[in-house]
Symmetry: C2
Subunit: 227 residues, 2 copies
């Protein structure tokens, strides 16, 4: 697709490394990007400030922050400060899993897409260097796309939603190399699950470890600010 | 399923006639019911107070109100006071359609179900006397069930989510007869799209018209309070 088509896309932007790279790819593909971030009482809310910086950096047409208050802690280390963020590798699906998070995020993104007339939704999920979250897998994305195409007025009227997951098969090193070529300033991004209020990373959580190893393997200097 | 199994269910409870009947059916089927309502800046917020009364009436184990702020009006007469609620029957999908609403509601209900360990989700959608909303159709519910069964940690670990839509094939009259037999006090319910702050109905919107016709066809006195 060339830039002159100016098709609109909704890009999920967490403020982390993966979603910033995804936004860069969507821009490169010529989409008119509308970014959406979610305030869900996450522990690492400094990622929202990061998302704002990244959105501005890439000149998105709109950056919307949606608030979700599910009226409870949600049984995850990312939303419940009574559950500690693990600082060593874990077996299986970790306690940082947030029940149905990507289902909720994509549902809201779908509504946003319908309102602005976008048929393309980008999400930076990844099935290689990831934490084993079920809602990052290709089968989840395929099922969501199928749902999206029966869920909306736009779908009934013939529009087809396409889910874009450009990072799905990339390892962290390749994601970082790809983003670097596209001009992503990774110093703006916050990956840490327990970043402090200034966006400084812990360096020991799952997300920090994947990120560090990625920069190392890519042979690119890690610009992350550690606490 | 008998009451002694005490399987937990999440029941979407809007405060309207259909969801109140659905809750009565879920209780009758022996589920330990957890009700969830959504505050999404809807015009007819008095339905939330109604939902609270109904939840109490049926003695649910928990009634959670989740807040969603999508950061915009959402392009619907139900969330944007600049768009009038139609007071005569409309062709096609009406302006009261809220983009991806049931996708968002069910996504949040799925997260709630996972947190409390419920595999059953009840929603009072109906494909007979309805307004043509795409996310009330059987194909939408089937697609959501398929999504739910790849989306969560519980699913990966072998749980199966079942969607229950007991009203799907009922007309409004049969819904009202069914609920009346199960003890639903319909005076508590608010169906109107533009009910006033006291929960009094307009009597002319789509939702009021379906409701009135339903009571009339059922031969049951309509307890609705009209403004």
């Amino acid at each position: 697709m060339s830039a002159k088509d100016v098709a609109k896309a909704v890009v999920l932007l967490s403020g982390g490394l993966d979603s910033a790279t995804t936004l860069a790819i969507a821009k490169e593909q010529g989409f008119d990007c509308h970014a959406v971030s979610f305030d869900y009482q996450q522990r690492h809310r400094s990622e929202l400030a990061a998302a704002g910086e990244i959105a501005k950096f890439f000149g998105v047409s709109e950056h919307r922050i949606m608030k979700i208050d599910s009226g409870g802690h949600g049984g995850s280390a990312l939303t419940d400060t009574d559950i500690a963020v693990p600082e060593t590798p874990q077996q299986g699906i970790p306690v940082t899993y947030v029940p149905a998070r990507n289902t909720v995020f994509l549902a809201l993104a779908l509504g946003y897409a319908e309102v602005i007339g976008a048929n393309d939704i980008f999400i930076g999920v990844n099935a290689v260097d990831y934490s084993g979250y079920p809602d990052c897998r290709p089968e989840f994305i395929a099922a969501f796309e199928a749902l999206a195409n029966v869920a909306t007025k736009a779908a009934v009227q013939g529009a087809r939603v396409k889910m874009h997951t450009p990072l799905m098969e990339m390892d962290k090193s390749r994601i970082i190399k790809t983003g670097s070529k596209l001009g992503v300033d990774y110093s703006m991004t916050v990956s840490c699950y327990q970043a402090d209020s200034k966006g400084r990373a812990c360096g020991v959580c799952d997300s920090c470890r994947f990120r560090m190893a990625g920069f190392s393997a890519a042979g690119i200097v890690d610009p992350t600010r550690y606490a």
